[in-house]
């Protein structure tokens, strides 16, 4: 179980590097754009749309990492008062629903990418094709779903193996 956890953490960490790089790139691109527009009176061509596609990748890539760092918000005020096995089963079911929802969003992103290929969707100025970014969105959502699924499995495993319980409940407020 922990080996699977390590693999999930490694994958989500790699995804987080996309987000780290993305947010720094967005900042630098926009600062440069401001500097150029204020001093040279001309902007970077397509800075606006580069920022948008960068933002898409940055945000989507962050979800799975946010899950491994327990950054997403869950209200555990009520279930934490339930008896051990019941609260773990409920939390596991909720995790399973969450993973399913993330996977459906990933599937919808694939459909969007296919539609973008068919229609030849591209950005307005630089004509950057949009479909690769929708595929990035799909991949990020599937990895997010895997991270959620791992937490779900951990919840169910914790019913039988006590040492996993702390890993599940440590982030509960």
């Amino acid at each position: 179980m922990m080996k699977i956890g390590d693999i999930v953490k490694k994958i989500t960490f790699l995804m987080s590097l996309v987000s780290y790089g993305g947010v720094v790139a967005i900042m630098l691109l926009n600062v440069l754009d401001v500097f150029m527009s204020k001093t040279l009176n001309r902007s970077i061509t397509g800075a606006y749309e580069i920022t948008e596609v960068l933002l898409l990748c940055t945000i989507m890539a962050s979800f799975a990492y946010g899950q491994t760092k327990k950054a997403h918000i869950n209200i555990t005020l009520f279930i934490k008062h339930l008896p051990g096995a019941i609260r773990l089963i409920i939390f596991g079911i909720m995790g399973f629903l969450s993973a399913g929802t993330a996977a459906v969003v990933g599937y919808a992103a694939i459909l969007q990418a296919q539609s973008a290929i068919t229609k030849g969707s591209a950005t307005g100025v630089l004509m950057i094709p949009m479909y690769p970014f929708y595929y990035v969105e799909a991949a990020a959502m599937f990895i997010f779903a895997i991270a959620l699924l791992y937490d779900t499995l951990l919840s169910f495993a914790a019913i039988f193996i006590k040492k996993y319980e702390k890993a599940v409940t440590s982030s509960w407020a």
Binding site: V23, V34, K38, I75, R87, V105, Q112
Partner: protein, 434 residues
């Protein structure tokens, strides 16, 4: 089944899911998409999921969220908070409970460069709590003032909840930021007055003030250069019209990184820690934003918000009564969840009602942010109280809650003031015009 019935089932299902521990962003997504499928059809719901997440995560205006979060994280690592605390402490040294008053002033200053309640509370608390314990302040007073100071982080711009509110309400972020300044100063002043009153009533909770010379006071201002530069560039640039809000956010984040380097705090470790905290915070924020957008689309097709607004108006209910009901909803929700989910959940329902009464969205935004501050310091959640208890484990949560209690009254008084005198909120945005 009618759309309204499906809408009510959707809202109930969402509430059940979140109280059973489901991730709030994904619960909004699931309830919203399932409801949309039930009202129209599953293909339409998939269509919604194809467009909404990508649109929300790639809207140019939204770069302000990660960039202001980044600015706050680097401002923390730059060490600006220590300088703020020292200056606040020295300038308010003549007041009873001067360290606690200085904590409020430092929190207000830090709130001007950071948009988060929790970050302000943790940052100032880490410096102020050991200091106040050294001077033998009662734990109740020290923890209460830190908890209250933390709430100023979301009221004084830049503020993440304000940005999210503006996105939901489709209103000007710049005007909203301007609107937060006077209420922020007012709340800081009211908090200081509360501390002075508490010390006057019970002098044992604080040592006698140790007066500082004017030389010491002016000397403490040296450390504030970084804060002035950051605040001046971001808010000054924005309000003067030199920068757009997005440009201000980019320049602010960049300056915060530079200041971290200037103050010799920029190491690989601080850089990666600040980026990690930035990524995890905006990850949580955007997942909520995407979920709320899907859920809002669902609510819109059920027409529940509009029906609710029409019903209230046909009942001839006065706005004061409606506002009181909304305030009660926020106080209850504030006991259960953080400010961001609260905004995302309630704003799509409440805004049509507010619009029906002809109330300015900027005023309403500041009002609800002020009301939400109660949730940050009041039990059973009171996020700021948890943070303070995390800083000093030997102080019980009960003590922290007791310390925060007088400030609940302070916030309620502030809420009453902006209701009676809406100019406190609207004066600066009205001056901006446009």
């Amino acid at each position: 089944m009618s759309a309204v019935t499906i809408g009510i089932i959707g809202i109930v299902a969402f509430l059940v899911l979140i109280f059973l521990g489901m991730n709030i962003g994904l619960a909004l997504l699931l309830a919203g998409a399932a409801g949309y499928a039930a009202v129209i059809n599953p293909a339409a719901a998939i269509g919604l999921l194809r467009k909404v997440p990508a649109t929300q995560a790639s809207t140019y205006t939204f770069i302000v969220i990660p960039l202001f979060i980044m600015m706050g994280n680097f401002a923390f690592h730059a060490g600006l908070s220590s300088a703020l605390y020292k200056a606040g402490d020295k300038w308010l040294s003549r007041l009873p409970g001067n360290h606690a008053c200085g904590t409020i002033a430092a929190s207000a200053g830090f709130g001007a460069i950071c948009g988060s309640c929790a970050a302000t509370c943790a940052t100032i608390g880490t410096i102020a709590l050991p200091e106040m314990r050294r001077y033998k302040y009662a734990d109740r007073l020290s923890t209460g003032s830190i908890a209250m100071g933390g709430t100023l982080g979301i009221l004084i711009p830049p503020s993440t909840p304000m940005i999210i509110y503006c996105i939901m309400a489709e209103t000007s972020i710049g005007k909203m930021f301007a609107a937060g300044i006077l209420p922020g100063i007012m709340m800081a002043a009211l908090s200081i007055i509360t501390i002075v009153i508490l010390v006057k009533i019970n002098p044992d909770i604080s040592p006698p003030p140790k007066k500082c010379s004017w030389k010491e006071r002016f000397g403490s201002l040296k450390g504030l250069i970084g804060v002035v530069v950051l605040f001046g560039a971001v808010l000054g640039g924005m309000f003067s019209g030199f920068f757009s809000v997005n440009q201000s956010a980019a320049v602010g984040a960049f300056l915060a990184v530079i200041l971290t380097a200037v103050y010799k705090n920029l190491t690989w470790k601080t850089f990666s820690t600040a980026l990690r905290d930035t990524v995890t915070t905006f990850s949580m924020t955007f997942l909520l934003l995407i979920g709320a957008s899907v859920f809002s689309n669902f609510l819109a097709i059920t027409k529940i918000p509009m029906i609710l607004a029409d019903t209230l108006q046909s009942m001839d209910a006065s706005f004061a009564v409606v506002l009181l009901l909304m305030t009660i909803v926020y106080i209850i929700l504030g006991m259960l969840m953080d400010e961001l989910p609260m905004i995302l959940l309630t704003v799509p329902i409440f805004l049509p009602i507010v619009a029906g009464y002809g109330i300015d969205f900027i005023w309403f935004g500041i009002y609800i942010i002020l009301v939400m501050e109660l949730g940050a310091i009041a039990p059973p959640v009171g996020l700021n109280c948890f943070i303070i208890q995390g800083i000093s484990k030997d102080i019980s949560l009960g003590t922290v809650y007791k310390g925060a209690l007088p400030f609940v009254a302070t916030i309620l008084f502030g809420v009453l003031l902006i209701y009676i005198f809406p100019q406190i909120v609207m004066f600066l945005p009205n001056m901006m015009g446009g």
